[in-house]
Symmetry: C2
Subunit: 389 residues, 2 copies
């Protein structure tokens, strides 16, 4: 056998391997999109949010419970002490429209250095409740050095549409959603709160890490309250950063239909309640005719009721075909959505687990690019979504 | 260099190739799900159906036009002569509810031997129109030896819900959908036609190749018309065979919502209009209380209006992750759906091309496993859906 012959045989062998690799890749590809839920934790009281100190060490907020620190490798959980005492006792109300409780927990980008956590929750006074955002230092499983970042006055006795979504932008600023607090449009004043720049409700905010106002914040109008970054918001909970281009996206609940995905833009007005992609709860509601500047249309609108909440961009490797896609949890009927986006435009929308529904509060990526889902149940769960071909 | 050294080097080379193949497979996987429409034909008059004599030689029905034979490699098209003269002239009516015209064309499984084609269309008399199914021999671009397989009496002057979907089962039998012909439930007789086994409408049929009744057809009830295979159908157009397990699936239009996917089962009753997953057009309609036997629930129901029509199972290689999925075209708003199915249950539902909508009449696989879509437009198109990463 000559070297030339061997080379030829080796070449033929290479072709053979490549062909078989190609076939394997096809099989692997088929297998690569079989999402399966694996229960990581149960007995969570309507969990709302998860923040990853590491892939094992996490903070979880329970809407109807506590701020927990959980070791995912052992399941051991500790109730964080020192939570503000003005937290609404949300257990007392059984109405599904009771949105009160603890909402988002996010870590400061330099948490490892400063141990700062940011928490949004429904704070209570004799006048009712409202959305409050605090910063605290997490020390030995206690919150210390609590600083109030924001309180969305006035207090109201209604218990819905607090907002409370938070995310740190790539710019190191804290962004937060504040709902308008009305279940029915008929409760609006003549100038709807989301269109009133002197009213803190129905807005998205941007702050420095200490709650002060960034010098480069937009000015929406003369007399606008400090920190307002965008307006015309009804009931937004989910807000997230696209790590591929640093743009911020948020979900928004419509009144009757009109559930939306939006991209955040400085100074933008998302139109509510003057314009909506859905319908009003009360069909006789007539919004005022306002001159809306910088109006932005939703990037996507569902025709069905989804109640979209916590969302994230998928940057994992478990599902290679999903990389860069936006995942959105839905409360209504229980749904999880995968949205392929090109040039900031959804091109396909997949509803996952249509045969296995559960009210979904938030979908999150861990630092190690694992995908987690929190379920909005009395016996709420943390699920990991893995590929089980 | 010794032979052994060469072998070792070749082996290292093989490993290298395999690693690079693996990485390519991940990249290919990511790229493998970017569906893109490529126009193959235009100027089709509301095309309804396509039948593949080969990957290049196809028959296309135009709802508002002709039966065409087209060479896809050149685009050359010929109008097939000899079509029955009782075809409704569907151009005269501009109402979107005018469903009349030419519907499905399918080839006999042994078409290469017998040149038999089966065509469904709206046939006309002085009493109105109805669904007729014929068999013809295709000779020199003419239909000859036309045999009437079925006519769904009575004729009616309404122009909708003919049905007309056809498919050959793996058993060599011809299955066809016949609609109930009512736009509004208030037109129903006391015993709704879809629940009346002595009325040909609102049924699915199964025939031998010559229109005779197979010996093993189910008997739905005493006095049932010959050929009825299932009942309780409102308005079904799309019917297809799952090549992986030979089961037959069909789409069905709801009245107000209630669009459905169903699996065909012998002797089954799909419930219309006694039960529906949607709402009635007239909310005061009260269906009779009937004892429904062998009732089958839909496999999937859309919450939004889709008007699902021509469907097929994907068995191509252009999109490896789609293999085995059910694709469904939707008229309303223009939509194309990809449904992942496990154990005959949808597990995820993806709407494709949400940024590029067109009324979609039928999605079909060619013998060479290419994927085609017919658009329901005055200037209708045949589109191939390819992967353009």
């Amino acid at each position: 056998m000559t070297i030339k012959m061997i080379s030829v045989l080796a070449f033929i062998g290479l072709i053979g391997i490549c062909i078989s690799c190609h076939h394997n890749s096809v099989d692997a590809t088929i297998a690569a999109s079989r999402p399966t839920k694996v229960e990581v934790l149960d007995s969570l009281k309507h969990p709302w949010s998860i923040a990853f100190i590491s892939d094992e060490d996490v903070l979880i907020t329970e809407k109807d419970g506590d701020l927990l620190r959980v070791d995912l490798s052992t399941g051991a959980r500790v109730i964080i002490r020192g939570f503000p005492t003005d937290l609404v006792d949300s257990i007392r109300v059984k109405d599904f429209r009771d949105n009160s409780g603890i909402f988002e927990v996010v870590l400061h980008p330099q948490f490892m250095d400063n141990q700062w956590v940011y928490i949004s929750y429904a704070a209570e006074s004799e006048q009712g409740s409202t959305t409050r955002i605090i910063r605290a230092t997490l020390q030995s499983d206690s919150l210390t050095e609590i600083v109030e970042i924001f309180t969305a006055l006035p207090y109201r006795h209604d218990l819905f549409h607090y907002g409370g979504g938070m995310v740190f932008g790539q710019d190191g600023k804290l962004y937060a959603t504040i709902g308008e607090r009305f279940y029915n449009e008929m409760d609006q004043p003549d100038l709807p709160v989301a269109q009133d720049v002197t009213d803190p409700r129905g807005k998205i905010y941007r702050w420095n890490e200490d709650g002060s106002i960034p010098d480069d914040n937009p000015i929406l109008a003369e007399g606008a309250l400090p920190g307002i970054y965008a307006m015309g918001i009804r009931a937004s909970q989910g807000i997230t950063l696209n790590p591929s281009d640093d743009k911020i996206w948020f979900s928004e609940h419509g009144s009757v239909q009109g559930d939306e995905l939006n991209m955040l833009s400085p100074g933008a007005n998302y139109g509510w309640p003057v314009t909506t992609s859905g319908k009003y709860r009360n069909s006789s509601y007539q919004p005022p005719q306002l001159n809306i500047k910088n109006e932005r249309q939703p990037v996507y609108t569902w025709l069905q009721t989804v109640a979209p909440t916590g969302l994230c961009f998928y940057n994992g490797y478990e599902f290679p075909t999903w990389r860069g896609d936006l995942l959105v949890a839905g409360l209504s009927r229980g749904s999880l959505w995968r949205i392929r986006i090109e040039e900031n435009t959804p091109v396909s929308v997949e509803e996952l687990f249509v045969n296995d529904r559960v009210r979904a509060r938030k979908v999150s990526m861990s630092p190690g690019e694992r995908l987690y889902l929190l379920t909005d149940e009395v016996n709420g769960k943390l699920l990991e979504i893995v590929n089980r071909p």
